[in-house]
Subunit: 603 residues, 2 copies
């Protein structure tokens, strides 16, 4: 049963913040009444949990190769729905990191108050730590990754049991000091609390993504794990939130689980165990996003919704990009929201429930296409899942709109728009490159209709320019050397040296006070003197120095890189880059047999 | 006499902070005694001013084309001294901006106290403003630039005269509230105050740099301007610091000149005139660094002490680099020192006086080489100047070491080291490129010893790859097409399509699970099958897409850019880049005559 803990850190870690966020909404508005209403909200969320669980069991059955929201939506609802799911999932991963890390640090600074001023710094350090760790390739392969989940479950179970025993033994928790402005219990308020609490369900979809990772029979194992996971969340989430009502926990003072542990255990060993295991499970939850996000990006890149270079499977570099993007954006969010879990939770829930909705809707439509035994009931289950999660999206988007959900509501369409533009661009490129039967002339490769002419720009006569001239002769009989001089004096000097070469390549000289090469060269190509014929190709040979030390790079190639870029804007110009390997400075200078200061002074 | 004000903003603006910094050192240590000791320090600085003036007059005479410290030191003391002077001058320019802007904002926030919380923001805004202004090319050509200098001189003169009249009329300034820990008047303390006050002299070297800008007879005019400038500083600096002793100004409460204006004029019109003119002259002083620094960098780049691409004279781009570097580094310093003039002043004075010392030492040595009439006296004057400024460097470096001068004491050797490394690199490159009589074989360009072989990597058969194959045929008879496939199935498909081309170029296929092209290609080139002969050149043709929109750039060319970079590390491989112009997406997609969503779903 290691499949349970390894996959589950994202899902069960939500227990650390979901309950407290419900209290956060209710307490300032209705005060002590909150501790009564919390059970209503918790019950609603647990019902939703089981709807989702039933719905996702069917996804697992139908997608034994892994059924993430992106794949299920694209498969059954079409490309556009897939793109929306991809955007929503990306937001989900980014906020998994931001929320889990912020909440994890909350646990720490609640237990160790002297760390409070360094909250943001700690968050950023953890994101950096996960980024570097994942760049260097820690993977969730090892069984060790299961331990934190069991440790967390164990410590929270002990907390719940000890809490109830203490109450039974007659303990009366102290009255909380809450400043609240009394409101009636309205539906809007309950819906707001429900929206916050729905984050308890974020992460259960992970099982359906990971079916291929289970031992055979994989779908059966995956379904069992999903059921167990739902039961674990039921016990931990239900147990802690209900316990909070008895202990009158006020989450403005810190993380709910840690505060509760303090009341139940005092500042004893178990108190620190609760804080530590909660912190660790949250960091592991953030870590799952670091393996999930680059994979999602790679899948979308293969389908050309994001830049294709992110898809190269197994290429470390492409995964690195995903990891770095995830770290940067989540760090940005943490800073922008000052590491405030309550503020981030709205953004998180919207993204997750949009992907839930799309995934369940996709399954619903699938049944109508594929039918099969009992498909009516199965379609009903998924349809009901889709409907309820859709209603939840609307509730969250509205009740949390002002507190930040608007960012996601705005960001997802923007991401979708960008992904559509990228996809259409790749389609347009493929269209332009496609060889059609009409391209007969093009297909006759051996029939050479190009004439190739070569231009070798030279600044002076040195080994590099002579090498370029010699190379030019091997690729064409139509070569010219091209020089830009500041004045006639300089030009004459070059001409004299060039004569000594006894070379059949003509030397063309143009003047420019600042020795700009590009403009005179382009003018020359257009001039009657050069007599360019349509269909000819012109090869311009430029040098590129390769150096021995990193810092020497900034000393070379700038002008030529610019010229290359500009020349390539002309479709009849090919740029040939000749490499020139420079030896190490020390080796070259040593040959001079002079002290360095003398070389300096003499130059 | 417009030469005076245009050149002088750097020099005379120093009056705004030099006097106050003397008080800043003395006041906390010796309290009211400070107001007596200030005249001793001021007198020493004014003596130093006239030593420098006499010394620089001789520089002007000998360098009618402009004698900046870099040129004078390099000319007379050698390359190494020139490099040190260049480094010191760079530090000088950067701190001219940091100090002038910080002090300018001090004037503002002293007069308008509600702006105090925005001090750093105001500083950064001004640096940004000067950067953008200079990037867009404001130049000190206009006579308008003389007005602020005259306005400043006028308002400070009025301040001094009004101040003395008020005292004569029996006004008794209020006793200042100073919390000081009484110390005896020690030499160290006076030296510290002297070191701070020496910043009054920063900027007078500007005249000697700018001799060619004067009307003929230029040297005569320049010498007159230098004399006048020294007298102006004498009057303004001497007048304000002595007046401060009578008015018991405490500069911890704000900028000295503005506080003095408040006591003399009250919060009247003249009070705001003093603050405004002082602010403006300081901004103009910072602006002179924005024209001076890029010019210094260009001169050093021409001599190859800094990357050569910074030298292209008249090229807007190269000046831009200098302007941006200056703005960034000075902004960084302002932030690091929290816009604190007192903290920055130590760094500033060290840099300036090192360049003074080198410049005067250079002149001293010059007399021994060139002799001429009365050269003994002239050498004595410059030698005395060099000696005194050298002593001042030592005093500043020691007394201000802990307060930040250590940064400059460390930075200048680092800059010098870097500049030497750059210069040596360029020397080593020139050495490698130089054609010697021994390179006979190389000189015979027409005698073709290279054999050119071409490889065209193709991913699939499309218009781009066919175009590349056709181009390859025009530059060599030895061409192969090279493909990397994931598996044999993919390879077979390509081979079948390739057969239909009826093309004489052989197709070589290699396998790689991740379609990496580079490694298989390099292996193939090394293989016996390819039979590479030493001396052959291999041209690899790679495509480069040029796109219509900026954002499309991130979708292309990454893999090829990487392959190009890696291939060019082999000196026998030339990379030919074929441009491929993509049409606008909208135009291409419109031809399909389908709605966009249909194109998306069908792909
Ligand atoms: K969960
Ligand atoms: K979660
Ligand atoms: K998640
Ligand atoms: K000055
Ligand atoms: K100055
Ligand atoms: K200066």
């Amino acid at each position: 049963l290691w499949g349970l803990p390894i996959l589950s850190s994202d899902a069960i870690s939500s227990v650390a913040y979901a309950g407290q966020e419900i209290l956060y909404v209710l307490l300032p508005a209705i005060g002590f009444l909150a501790f009564k209403e919390i059970s209503v909200v918790t019950a609603a969320i647990i019902i939703l949990l089981f709807i989702l669980m039933l719905s996702y069991r069917q996804t697992i059955e139908n997608y034994p190769n892994g059924g993430g929201a992106f794949i299920v939506a694209k498969d059954n609802l079409g490309v556009l729905a897939g793109i929306v799911a991809g955007a929503a999932l990306s937001v989900d991963y980014i906020l998994t990191v931001a929320v889990s890390i912020s909440s994890g640090v909350d646990q720490i600074v609640t237990a160790l108050e002297f760390l409070k001023p360094y909250k943001i710094a700690l968050c950023l350090f953890l994101v950096l730590f996960l980024m570097i760790g994942n760049l260097r390739g820690i993977r969730e392969s090892s069984r060790i990754f299961g331990i934190p989940a069991y440790a967390f479950m164990f410590s929270i179970l002990v907390l719940i049991i000890a809490g109830y025993i203490k109450l039974r033994m007659g303990y009366v928790p102290p009255e909380p000091k809450v400043n609240y402005s009394p409101h009636p219990v309205t539906l809007v308020l309950l819906l707001k609390a429900f929206a916050s609490g729905c984050t308890a369900l974020t992460g259960i979809e992970a099982v359906s993504n990971a079916v291929p990772n289970f031992k055979d029979p994989a779908t059966k194992h995956a379904k069992t794990v999903l059921l167990l996971l739902s039961l674990v969340i039921l016990v931990l989430f239900g147990g802690t939130t209900l316990l909070a009502t008895h202990y009158h926990i006020v989450p403005t003072e810190g993380a709910m689980l840690v505060l509760m542990a303090q009341e139940i255990f005092g500042k004893s060993f178990m108190y620190y165990v609760v804080a530590a295991t909660t912190f660790i499970i949250l960091v592991f939850a953030a870590n799952t996003a670091f393996s999930g996000f680059p994979m999602l990006v790679a899948v979308m890149a293969k389908e050309e919704f994001v830049p294709r270079q992110l898809s190269l499977k197994g290429d470390k570099l492409s995964y690195s990009n995903g990891i770095i993007i995830l770290a940067l954006v989540s760090a940005l969010l943490i800073v922008a929201f000052n590491g405030n879990v309550t503020a981030l939770i709205g953004l998180y829930a919207v993204g997750v429930f949009i992907s839930f909705t799309l995934s369940q809707s996709g399954m619903f439509v699938r049944w109508f296409k594929n039918k099969g035994s009992h498909w009516h009931i199965k379609a009903f289950i998924n349809g009901f899942g889709a409907l309820t999660t859709f209603v939840v999206v609307i509730i969250i988007a509205i009740t949390k709109f002002r507190e930040g959900a608007w960012i996601v509501v705005l960001l997802i369409p923007l991401l979708v728009f960008a992904m559509i533009k990228v996809k259409l661009h790749y389609i347009a490129v493929a269209d332009q490159l496609r060889v059609t039967p009409a391209d007969k002339e093009l297909l006759d490769v051996d029939h050479n209709i190009y004439r190739n002419r070569v231009i070798v720009p030279i600044e002076s006569l040195n080994k590099a320019s002579i090498r370029a001239l010699r190379f030019a002769k091997t690729i064409s009989d139509n070569v010219i050397a091209f020089n830009v001089s500041i004045n006639e004096e300089q030009a004459k000097k070059l001409q004299e040296r060039y004569k000594m070469l006894n070379c059949s390549i003509p030397l063309v000289i143009r003047y420019s006070p600042y020795r700009k090469i590009l403009e005179p060269l382009l003018e020359y190509i257009k001039s009657e003197e050069y007599n360019y014929q349509k269909g000819d190709m012109i090869t311009v040979i430029i040098p590129k120095f390769t150096v021995q030390r990193w810092w020497q790079k900034i000393l070379h190639n700038h002008t030529w890189l610019f010229i290359e870029k500009e020349l390539l804007k002309h479709k009849h110009i090919v740029v040939s880059v000749m490499p020139l390997q420079l030896k190490d400075d020390d080796v070259v200078l040593k040959k001079k047999n002079k002290p360095l200061w003398k070389i300096l002074e003499e130059d």
